[in-house]
């Protein structure tokens, strides 16, 4: 089963609004990653946040990590129609002996209406 679970499953907003997606996980982690997937394409790595970090920014993206709640959020500010995609979180569990293998969530589908 997937450790990461995104919430909501689907999100529809107007261009210019902010979009917030959440990811919860079950076990202790070394890091958490966020990816974007445009329809019919591969995933694109957006940002990685380590377990000792609380917040990270990249352009219009802001990621927070709360290890006490085992949750992360991805905020996209001033959204654009081009942000329409599915967004996935993935985690590297601390106890994972298969170094390099992350566990992916099921994704949030974001639709940004022009």
């Amino acid at each position: 089963s997937q450790q990461g679970e995104e919430d909501p499953q689907a999100l529809s907003i107007q261009e210019g609004e902010n979009a917030t997606m959440n990811c919860s996980y079950k076990t202790s982690i070394n890091n958490l990653q966020w990816y974007r997937q445009n329809s019919g394409r591969g995933l694109v790595h957006l940002i990685l946040i380590r377990s000792n970090e609380r917040e990270k920014h990249s352009g219009r993206l802001r990621v927070t990590l709360d290890t006490s709640k085992k949750s992360s959020s991805l905020l996209i500010t001033a959204s654009r129609a081009a942000d329409t995609a599915s967004y996935f979180c993935a985690t590297d569990a601390t106890q994972n002996t298969n170094a390099g293998k992350s566990t992916f969530g099921d994704g949030t589908t974001l639709t940004v209406k022009p």
């Binding site: 990653q33 995933l43 993935a90 390099g100």
Partner: protein
């Protein structure tokens, strides 16, 4: 720009055929992965490899095998294609933990 290249974007094969999906990365990454993605089921790991000639089963290895003879190339083999293997197949690579995956563009395989 670093890349993971999958040999085909779309592929149509007949039931019972042996199918090869090829993946090449140019980043000297140790780890390579094959996932399949189906609506409502998310990404499911088929096989991964952490070194040349090394492979480990993922969550759904049945009906698949892999080959990694060179560091940059990771092949997925469907021994005898079946209709339930119709799916989007995604190859990815990454260095040891601490950095994210780089994915290929995917191969949409249809088995008829």
């Amino acid at each position: 720009d670093v890349k993971v290249t999958q040999s085909s974007r779309y592929l149509v094969k007949r039931t019972g055929e042996k199918v090869f999906l090829e993946c090449v990365q140019d980043m000297d990454h140790e780890n390579m992965f094959w996932y399949r993605q189906d609506p409502g089921l998310g990404l499911r790991l088929i096989y991964f490899s952490y070194d040349v000639k090394m492979k480990e089963k993922g969550d759904i290895p049945e009906g698949y095998s892999v080959s990694r003879e060179k560091k940059e190339r990771f092949s997925l083999i469907l021994e005898s294609a079946s209709t339930n293997q119709t799916s989007m197949y995604l190859c990815a690579s990454r260095p040891w933990t601490g950095r994210g995956y780089t994915f290929g563009s995917g191969t949409r395989l249809t088995v008829v």
